[in-house]
Symmetry: C2
Subunit: 104 residues, 2 copies
DNA sequence: TTAGTTGTTCGTATATTTGCGAACAATAAA
DNA sequence: TTTATTGTTCGCAAATATACGAACAACTAA
């Protein structure tokens, strides 16, 4: 039990982002938001094969991970990608896949 | 219940890869393998703060997802990144983050 | 106020994940 | 054969994740 290191915050953050993307429903949500700039729960509900309550849960998880944002525009809720965080996430994954430790 | 589309195999594959990366232990494993070319269970066990049986489970998951490979070299087992699959995964994530539908 | 629309939260059930130690398997060494 | 080393699998417990419909909240329109 000596010498074992705790996880770094980068490792934890990357894992958190990956986990948030680790479900087909959430991949589909992100793709819709990326391709249409913004979308409404109802729109997504027509395309994605889960109950609206389940969709809401997945949206909540993506929001929690910082990947998307929601804005209330009664009676609907408009979701969009959190562009700043999405860009950061993209860079993290890029570095990870390149294992590029010298340009960070 | 009309008009809902099943998930594409790309969506499912990306979600599967993301899910496999969605845990700090598995991120740490991949980082070790990327930086040292190859590693042994025992080496990783000294660095990563989980029981050896738990580590074995995580290695199994990464193998299942196609990210790593294991070769028995008695009495140890040598793990390495499945470079071909890793490269493909990198490209999938790259496209996803760029939402680049015109160059695939 | 009463309906209607949209989306979230609640309550519940089931499935999966994570984790550990014990037991096991495979091999090498004595 | 016995012992030691390495790593996996088993058995179990606890925590999370997934999913659904019902109920609810917030707002708009009649």
């Amino acid at each position: 039990m000596v010498g074992k290191k705790a996880f770094t915050s980068k490792q934890k953050q990357l894992a958190r982002l990956a986990k948030a993307m680790g479900h087909p429903v959430r991949i589909a949500i992100i793709e819709m938001l990326l391709s249409q700039s913004c979308c409404y729960h109802g729109d997504m509900s027509l395309e994605i094969p889960v109950a609206k309550s389940t969709l809401s849960q997945h949206l909540h998880e993506l929001k929690d991970a910082g990947i998307i944002q929601g804005t209330i525009t009664p009676p609907t809720v408009k979701y969009c990608i959190n562009k700043e965080n999405w860009s950061m996430a993209g860079k993290m994954f890029e570095k990870f896949f390149q294992n590029d430790k010298n340009h960070g």
